[in-house]
Amino acid sequence: MLAKIGAKSLEDLVSYLPADVRFNGKLQIDDGKSEFEIVDYFKAAAAHNANGYASFLGAGVYNHYRPVLVDTVVSRGEFLTSYTPYQAEISQGTLTSIFEFQTMVCQLTGMDVANASMYDGSSAVPEAAMMAVRVTRRDRVLIARTVHPEYREVLATYTRHQGIPVDEIAYAKNGRLDLDDLKKKLTNEVAAVIIQTPNFFGLLEQVKEIAALVQSKGALLVVVFTEAVALGLIEPPREADIVVGELQSFAISPSYGGPYAGIIATHEKYIRQIPGRLVGETVDAEGKRAYCLTLATREQHIRREKATSNICTNQALLALMATVFMTVYGKQGLRELAEQNLAKAHYLAGKLPLVFDAPFFNEFVVRANGRTPEQINNELIEKKIVGGLPLGRFYAELKDSMLLCATEMSRRQDMDTVAAGFRA
């Protein structure tokens, strides 16, 4: 090969790099390791984490069972090691599965159009806000304080230099969005109002009432979800203009915060304003049904500085995990799964002092009864249980409270231990 290219050695291949640019040192990285050693290293690292603990953490990341079929499917090299399906003729597998994904996201959320995925729920929020700004040609955004605090931080980062002022809407005594505060702040300059349901405290927001209010002022309602399993049981936010959310609950392992799969869904009339990749149905040269990426002129590789977003790589393989999960559970299973979550959470909540009085799905806020949430958690850790999320770091006024989550994975015996921990 060297002879063919007229080089004497491999080093010749970098000889034309300017001398003041070439790196002549040796990278200070240990010598290459065998497969066995690598597996060992990561096992050792994992041993420094929580192992064998029951967990009652939720707050945007949920412990749900992952059906075996999910990894069976995504481990197939044809899905795992293919690129973005730009060459439709040899990508019909990926394209068809994304079309099914888009369809299921629409069925779940009550929307007409969904894209092929976003990075995660948090980054989908500013994308929805930017979309609302394009649609309404207004520039202000309101976001409920009951939206995941880290999602709100991401929104602030994204909007800071785009001339999009963001204001927060307070929550009422019952932990839901304060309608009076919304009315006060909802001016004619508002492009989008962003709420989450179930909200960060696990409570259902009054989507219908809020939508009517928001839309009467010509703004768009963006509804966020972090717990997708809830959509198996609760009424989807059909009145929303844009729905964004996180599908981590659908067979995507918590994996210390990522990779996950975000979604964005909307109505047909806004299809040209949606960011990211879209798969569309068409026909091939023989007239048979086929799929391809479509409406690409919205995207950065064509519209460059005028694109709807800079997003390029998305979360296709995670979206496929979610697709397999939705298929395995199906219409009946997703509902039963949601019902189990509801039952477990209400069982645990029934034994504890709740802070808010409003309908909740599988998360709820509990007061630590004279002690600190950290004290309770430390005692639970002794019993191999990771308790809830102390809320003080995000809500100073709730520093005596924690957010607990129960899923189908929570055992009754562990829930009883948690409940006893609050009484101790």
Binding site: A7, L10, V14, L17, D20, V21, F23, I29, D30, D31, G32, K33, A45, A47, N49, L57, A59, V61, N63, R76, L80, T81, Y83, Q87, E89, I90, G93, T96, F99, L108, D120, Y151, T157, Y158, H161, L204, I234, E235, S255, Y256, G257, G258, E281, D284, Y291, C292, T294, Q300, N310, I311, C312, T313, A316, L317, T327, A343, Y347, P359, R412, M415
Partner: protein, 493 residues
Amino acid sequence: MIKKVSKHIVQNEPLLFEQSSPGKWGYQLPPLDVPPVDAASVLGKENVRAEIEDFPEVSEFEALRHFTRLSTWNYAIDLGLYPLGSCTMKYNPRVNELVARTEGLAWAHPYQPEALAQGCMEVIAALERALEEITGMAAVTLQPAAGAHGEFTGILMMRALLEKRGNARKKILVPDSAHGTNPATATMVGYSVENIKSNSRGMVDLEALERAVTEDVAGLMITNPNTVGVFEENIRKICGLLHDKGALVYMDGANMNALVGVARPGNFGVDVMHLNLHKTFSTPHGGGGPGAGAVAVAEVLKPFLPGPRLKRAGDKWAWNYDLPDSIGRVRAFYGNFGVLVRALAYVMAHGGNGLRQATLDALLNANYLRALLEPYYEIAYKAPSMHECVFSDDRQAKKGVRTGDIAKRLIDYGFHPYTVSFPLIVRGALMIEPTETESKQELDLFADAMISIAQEVDQNPELVKTAPHMTRTPRVDEVRAARQPVVRWKRPQ
């Protein structure tokens, strides 16, 4: 002659929704160990949905067959060379998949107490250190989810530094050969974009750049090696030009597979750059993602990194949220951790020497293909190629055959096409990146295919223009898809 592929049975398969039967399911939940609750009474009747209309109803085995059948309609790196330029489609080692699924890592909750997350933090710290070493930069953040997300993070930091110095400035310079994400990113950070022409050697035109660098310029976004696979030999001078005017240099690291162990951006004047872990560091593309867009910065930008940051607290790791100058979060939690695990496994398997060897092998493979193909296709620029080579379809266009047609014909020969019609500065571009993980045999087969197609263009251009002929699905009507968008299935009325 087509050597690599033969005819093969492929199964047809309807959509899930079309094969659903009421009452079928593929799951099994354990019996509830707590009393059931009535959803309508605890949630309110108005909050409970009737059913998820038309949601799939299939058995477990039907589900497995469905996705297995669909998978056979895909091409993949596991089936052969995937020479997409700028995409670095290399072998995805399977040990990486295994370690990413290690129980204690895969099931770690981002909010579990730091004392019970030390293993994850160690992995993050180890990868940050390795990437600092590889790039020669002062610090690395692993928070961004993808390359474009990394660009966004990097330009936000540049803006934050300039604001701190008193003037955020107005525009970002972008060479005309750049990826579309560069200008799209600059816009999202509130900058206008000015394009810089490339010269006749495919590099940034120094004079044009010099004219463009004014006090209004916040920085330059440069890809190096650039999208024609050529190293910007004036990179030091370019960085100097920007720095002299108080502006900064962002390097798009999409092509870092050409530089690892050979040149370090931190040593030639770059202020901030991203790495696509799903390119250079072998994490699988998965049909479009996930990726991870690590961002490396020079000392001057360290205070502006997104938070939280890892810090040492005694003999433990802790997350530091007290970062007054930070640009804030660009996403929830700490990054695409599962992707980071895979990238670290790749670095460990290679070691310092192995990483450098991989780079040289990537250069060898690209230059070998260039040498084989240059007699048949017009090389876009004579300058030496690094990890990829770019041709134009000039010779073939005379016969009415364009790069897109040649690409489709390559499919018949059993290969995924190269990158088509990019970069924009090359008329009818064929952008070919074989990566280091291809054998001479596979490269020879590919070159044979390309040469055979060049001959077909001369003898029977129609054959090429109507390709592919061997696939389950012939050419797809993209115009119809765009004119009447159908982006979801609906039950036929």
